[in-house]
């Protein structure tokens, strides 16, 4: 559950976005820009967290009144070397924050920190990651919390989709691109696994709200509605008209242990009662138009 240190939203003095060039970081940057928030956007070009002396360069850029949005990650983490890379990046940020206290920190984490059998998942669900990706985020959450005296908020998105997604992972992003190319939209097996899909714009809005409220704690960036990959595929197909088809292909491996994942979004409703998450159909249309 989030605790708001600002009961009413207050525009942060400045937000330093670490990882502003990525899919999520870019969306947060645009959201802050449109809200009139002063932003110091750090992409890998301005700050490569894996380079020597990165922590010192970051520390020089930070002001005590800054809010920091830490988004940067090499993801998804699939190997141990990738895990260690991400931890070194986290270590650099921790070192900078330890030397230069800031006002507030928001870390963009992942729902992969939760145990597979947490169902429905809430912010109070146990963190027991079953993947290297989840372990990376869980470790960085702890690292960052221990490195700073500033209030820290974790935003834990589930599967994110949006026009600019670079990963092309199984789900809305790949389905849309397949439809755009005129290829069949392919689902594994029956595509019956139900997942929650969140629009990247909503993740960015939640980050903005957390920054404005100077929140601390954890919040899941999820819609509370889980949809099967089959239904997502057909929703995308309908968007692209008669030519779009859905085809089943054999699974690349056994059916996933985690068949369905549901989220209870009550904490989000309480934290930001006026915020409305984008439904999947509407979000897919936004992504299709590339808005």
């Amino acid at each position: 559950m989030l605790e708001h240190l600002n009961a009413e939203p207050v525009k942060p003095a400045r937000v330093v976005i670490i990882g502003a060039g990525g899919f999520v970081g870019g969306a947060i940057r645009r959201k802050l820009d449109s809200a009139g928030v002063t932003v110091l956007a750090l992409t890998r070009k301005e700050l490569d967290l894996l380079s020597d002396g990165a922590e010192g360069r970051l520390a020089q850029m930070l002001q005590p009144t800054d809010s920091v949005a830490m988004v940067s990650a090499v993801a998804p983490v699939k190997t141990v070397p990738m895990l260690m890379q991400n931890l070194r990046m986290g270590d650099a940020v921790c070192a900078a924050l330890a030397g230069k206290p800031v006002s507030h920190l928001v870390y963009i984490s992942s729902d992969a920190v939760y145990a597979d059998d947490a169902n429905p998942v809430t912010e109070a669900s146990y963190c027991a990651p079953s993947t290297l990706h989840g372990m990376m985020h869980a470790a960085r959450e702890l690292m960052l919390k221990s490195a700073t005296t500033a209030p820290v908020a974790m935003l834990r998105p589930t599967l994110i989709y949006g026009a600019a997604d670079p990963h092309n992972g199984y789900g809305p992003n790949r389905f849309r691109r397949q439809a755009e190319k005129g290829e069949p939209i392919t689902i594994f097996g029956e595509g019956e696994e139900r997942r929650d899909h969140v629009l990247v714009d909503d993740v960015a809005t939640l980050a903005l709200l957390m920054l404005e409220h100077r929140s601390r704690g954890a919040l899941n960036a999820v819609t509370g509605v889980s949809t099967s990959f089959r239904d997502v595929a057909h929703m995308v197909a309908r968007q692209y008209g008669k030519g779009a088809t859905v085809a089943r292909i054999p699974r690349p491996g056994p059916r996933p242990h985690l068949l369905h994942r549901f989220f209870d979004i009550t904490d989000c409703l309480k934290a930001f009662p006026g915020f409305r998450l984008t439904g999947l159909a509407q979000g897919l249309e936004i992504a299709r138009r590339g808005i």
Binding site: A124, D264, I265, T266, L269, K270, P273, G274, R276
Partner: protein
């Protein structure tokens, strides 16, 4: 030998009801509280708690009841009950400082042969730690139920007595008083009795949690829990009086206190109490059912909705709002206007910045986008579906406890949401069938 005189120290819900039942059973009864204002009010016929039948019982037996704010008056009692309600914090933790002070004050007046009985809710180990003569010190389990306190005080199904030595016979005066209730008296060790109280509540919570869990499943698969629960009650292993009505989590404070005690004892002993954690988790989850329904049905489509809330008390027939689901809901309705009515609790108790206090249930519905019935007061059953439909601006009725007839509400063109069954969608002109 004349009948013993029974004293009750601490005039809150438990003490007043217990004293009234004692007098009704024919005993001279002394009601003591150190707060003179409380005593003056009671002596003048003003009962500070809402409990059906209690004012009448006190009035009818007034000749046997004496009220006093003087501790020395307790010296004339043969049996003295320590009977105030023990306050709890938001986590269910008990504040025992008040009863410890009361026990000290009462013990100083205890006659040479008199018996002291701790009746209020104390954690295991409390009674044995008291520095009082063990052969005259007892703990008695209270099973007060808000809204049914008089009935339960007059006709307990059994009396559990915690003793220093359960093999020893109870003192004559205490035994004479207990036997008049005509139910089994079960002496046992202090700790067993203290845990028995918690065990009773854990069993109740288990039933409620089963009902809540399967009611939620019912909502998702097209079953109706109200059809299932009667079948369970006919099973002798479950029983007619089982708590199988789904609700909005635990409220009132007593059940929550006992779960918190179990969790604390687990921390001290290492016992596995994952089950009890699950009870607490489910309670929190179901408490927010109405909030989730409002967001899904109203807040997601209306920019400045008005919500009518019927009921603030944590249950019907009481003034108590301890852990009230209504107040828990209202805390998260801050951005919106709400109209409130409760037959007993004033609207100010909601502490909401945009509250309109209403004089009746139907007035509460007037111009609202949704009507939410958070306490199943009998008065609310008098609402007519067509009148509600006419009064509401919107078309959402959220009725967790099935106060209204859902089919009639849907027939009036409203959408009806309750615990344990799928929503009933009303058909409205110009809208497609749901």
């Amino acid at each position: 030998m004349s009948a013993p005189v029974i004293g009750f120290a601490g005039m809150t819900h438990l003490g007043i009801n217990s004293a009234a039942a004692c007098a009704a059973r024919g005993f001279r009864t002394l009601c003591y509280d150190p707060d003179g204002r409380v005593i003056d009010g009671l002596a003048a016929g003003s009962v500070p708690v809402v409990e059906p039948g209690l004012p009448e019982l006190l009035y009818k037996n007034a000749g046997r009841i004496r009220f006093s704010a003087q501790a020395r008056d307790l010296a004339a009692c043969d049996v003295i009950y320590i009977a105030p309600d023990v306050p709890t914090d938001e986590h269910g933790g008990s504040d025992l400082s008040g009863i410890e002070a009361l026990i000290a004050a009462v013990a100083a007046q205890l006659g040479a042969q008199a018996v002291l009985v701790v009746l209020c809710q104390v954690p295991p180990g409390f009674t044995r730690r008291l520095l009082l003569p063990a052969e005259r010190l007892f703990y008695q389990v209270e099973t007060l139920v808000f809204g049914r306190a008089v009935e339960r005080a007059l006709q307990p199904e059994r009396i559990i007595v915690g003793c220093a030595d359960p093999a020893r016979e109870l003192p004559a005066a205490y035994r004479e008083f207990l036997e008049v209730f005509g139910c089994p008296v079960l002496p046992m060790r202090y700790e067993s009795a203290e845990l028995a109280k918690i065990a009773i509540n854990c069993c109740l919570v288990a039933s409620v949690t089963v009902a809540n869990t399967l009611a939620e499943l019912s909502e998702g698969i097209g079953a109706d829990w109200s059809e299932i629960a009667p079948a369970l009650k006919l099973d002798r292993r479950i029983g007619q009086h089982a708590y199988l009505a789904p609700g909005l989590g635990l409220a009132g404070g007593n059940l929550e206190r006992d779960l918190a005690t179990v969790l604390r004892l687990s921390g001290e002993t290492g016992a596995d109490v994952a089950l009890v954690r699950a009870f607490v988790h489910n309670s929190h989850h179901r408490r927010d059912w109405a909030l989730r329904t409002l967001h899904a049905e109203v807040f997601s489509v209306s920019s400045d909705p008005v919500i009518g809330v019927l009921g603030l008390a944590y249950k019907e027939d009481t003034h108590s709002t301890k852990n009230s689901p209504a107040l828990a809901l209202i805390r998260h309705l801050a951005p919106w206007r709400i109209r409130i009515h409760d037959p007993v609790v004033p609207a100010e108790a909601a502490r909401h910045p945009r509250t309109i206090a209403c004089g009746s249930a139907l007035e509460t519905a007037a111009g609202a986008d949704a009507l939410v019935i958070m306490t199943p007061w009998a008065q609310f059953r008098e609402l007519k579906a067509r009148e509600v439909a006419h009064a509401l601006r919107g078309h959402t009725v959220i009725d967790p406890y099935r106060v209204l007839n859902g089919a009639a509400i849907a027939a009036a063109g409203l959408d009806y949401f309750t615990l344990g069954a799928a929503p009933l969608r009303g058909t409205r002109q110009g809208e497609p069938h749901a």
